[in-house]
Amino acid sequence: MTGTSQPILRVIEGGASQDRRAFLRELYSKYGGSVQERCRYLLKDAIKAEDAMQDVFARALSHSESFRAEASPLTWLMKIATHQCLNQLRSEGAAWRRWFERDAAARPEGHGGPEAMETRVLVRRLLARVDAETQAAAIHYHVDGMTLEEVAALLGRSVPTVRKRLEHFATLGGEELRVR
C-alpha cells in the first residue's frame, strides 16, 4: 500500500535556552550600549565597567519574568546599573575625591552639547558628598535627562521629596544644577 507517510514528530530540545538566547540578544541589541555607557561613566574603568555590565544583565536574566513585565526595561536596567556601580564604589571604600580626579577612561555621556557635558562631569564630582538616594536622583535627573516625575516614580518618592533632594544637590554645584 502506498501513501504519504506520517511526518515523524521531532522534539527539539532546548526550547528554553533558545528563548533565553533570544532574550539575551534583545538585551544586547537594544540596551547594551546604554548600560555599558552608564557603567563606564560611573566606574571610569573599562574592565570594571564590563564586569558591572555583565552583572546587570545577569540580574535581568535571572529576573526575566519580572523584567519582561516592565513597562520600560530601559528604566529598569539603568536603575540597576546605576545602583550596582554606586554600590561597587561604596563597597570598594573608594576614595571618592581621588576617584573623580582620575582621568576619564570612558566616553562621556552627553546630549545637549558642551554645557551638558560639563554638567555630567560636575554631577559625578559631587556624588561623594550626598547620600545614596540623592546620588541616584541626581544621576537620573541630570545625566539621564528624566523629568522630576520620572525620577520620583523610579525612586518611589514624591515629586516634592525628589525636588528637595535635587535642590540640596544644587546647593553644592551652583547654577548648572538648578532644578527646573
Binding site: 538566547r21 539575551l24 540578544r25 544586547y28 541589541s29 537594544k30 540596551y31 547594551g32 550600549g33 546604554s34 555599558q36 555607557e37 564590563e50 564586569d51 555583565q54 552583572d55 544583565f57 545577569a58 536574566l61 535571572s62 520600560s72 526595561p73 530601559l74 536603575k79 540597576i80 545602583h83 554606586l86 554600590n87 561597587q88 561604596r90 563597597s91 570598594e92 571618592w96 566616553r107 552627553g110 546630549h111 545637549g112 552639547g113 561623594a128 558628598r129 550626598v130 547620600d131 545614596a132 538616594e133 540623592t134 541616584a136 539621564d144 535627562g145 528624566m146 523629568t147 525612586l155 518611589g156 518618592r157 521629596t161 528637595k164 533632594r165 540640596h168 546647593t171 553644592l172 527646573r180
Partner: protein, 256 residues
C-alpha cells in the same frame, strides 16, 4: 530645554519602547530638530560601537560567567555560614535582632554632606559579599548570613520607628518593639539604629522606616501595616505607604 524632547525620551525612542503615539511625536520632533537628531545619532553610534567591540557571542559568554560567578559566591557563602553560624532561633515574626558590641557595618561613604532632606537607608552586610545599600521599592535578595542595618537622616523630623511585615502578613515592630517611636538622635548626618537584624525563615520581608514630627504609637503602626498589607492583596511588592503622618521608606528583602 522644554522645546526639545528630553534625553530620556530619546533614549526610550532609540530602544524602541515608547508607546506608538509618543514615538511618532518624538520622531517627528527629532526630524526637524538638530540637537535631538544628533542625540539619536549618538545613541545609535554608542550601540554600534558597543557591538563592534563586543560581539554577541562574547557578551553572552560574559553573562553566563557572571551568572556562574554569582552562583559560586552563593555556594561559598552558604558553606562559610555553615561553619560559623550558630543555630538561629526562628521567632514567630521571622526576625532576629542581633545587638553587637561592634557594628557589623561601617558607614563607608563620606559623611560630609550638608543638611538636606530626610533620608532612610538600608544596608546589607555581615556576609562575604561587599556591603551594599538597598534601593527602595526594589527586591533585594539576602544571602545566607547577611544582616541588615537601618539608618536615617532626620532633617526636621523628630521621631523614628521601623517595622517589618513578612509574606504571611505578620508584622514585627523593630525599633522600638513597643511603646512610641524613638526620638531621633541629635546632629546632622546619618544615624544608625542600634544593632543589626537577621531575618530568618524564607520568602519576602517588607521593611519600613518612618520619620515623623510627633511620636507614633507602635500598636497603631502595626495596625496601619496590616491595613496596607490587606490593601495590597497580600503582595508585599504592591504594599502602599502606611497611612500615618510623616515620611517613610519601604524595602522588600528576599530571605535566603
Amino acid at each position: 530645554m522644554s522645546a526639545h524632547e528630553s534625553e530620556w525620551t530619546l533614549r526610550r525612542l532609540h530602544a524602541g519602547e515608547l508607546p506608538a503615539p509618543d514615538a511618532a511625536r518624538a520622531r517627528s520632533h527629532a526630524a526637524g530638530c538638530a540637537p535631538c537628531a544628533e542625540a539619536l545619532k549618538r545613541f545609535a553610534q554608542v550601540q554600534s560601537q558597543f557591538e563592534a567591540h563586543l560581539p554577541f557571542e562574547h557578551f553572552e559568554a560574559g553573562i553566563e560567567q557572571a551568572l556562574e560567578r554569582q552562583r559560586a559566591e552563593d555556594r561559598a557563602r552558604a558553606k562559610a555560614r555553615s561553619r560559623w553560624v550558630a543555630p538561629v532561633v526562628s521567632l514567630a515574626a521571622s526576625v532576629l535582632l542581633v545587638v553587637l558590641a561592634r557594628p557589623l557595618m561601617h558607614t563607608g561613604a563620606p559623611s560630609n554632606r550638608l543638611k538636606g532632606g530626610a533620608v532612610a537607608e538600608l544596608r546589607i552586610g555581615g556576609g562575604e559579599a561587599p556591603q551594599r545599600v538597598v534601593d527602595a521599592n526594589l527586591r533585594e535578595a539576602l544571602r545566607p548570613g547577611e544582616r541588615v542595618r537601618l539608618g536615617y537622616t532626620a532633617d526636621t523630623h523628630r521621631y523614628v520607628a521601623a517595622l517589618s511585615i513578612d509574606a504571611t502578613g505578620e508584622v514585627t515592630a523593630l525599633y522600638p518593639d513597643a511603646g512610641e517611636s524613638l526620638p531621633v538622635e541629635a546632629g546632622d548626618g546619618m544615624h544608625w539604629l542600634p544593632g543589626s537584624l537577621e531575618f530568618t525563615g524564607t520568602g519576602a520581608e517588607r521593611v519600613v522606616v518612618l520619620l515623623s514630627d510627633a511620636p507614633l504609637d507602635m500598636d497603631a503602626l502595626r495596625d496601619a501595616a496590616r491595613r496596607a498589607y490587606a490593601v495590597s492583596g497580600r503582595d508585599l511588592d504592591l504594599m502602599p505607604a502606611l497611612d500615618v503622618p510623616g515620611e517613610q521608606t519601604q524595602w522588600t528583602l528576599l530571605k535566603p
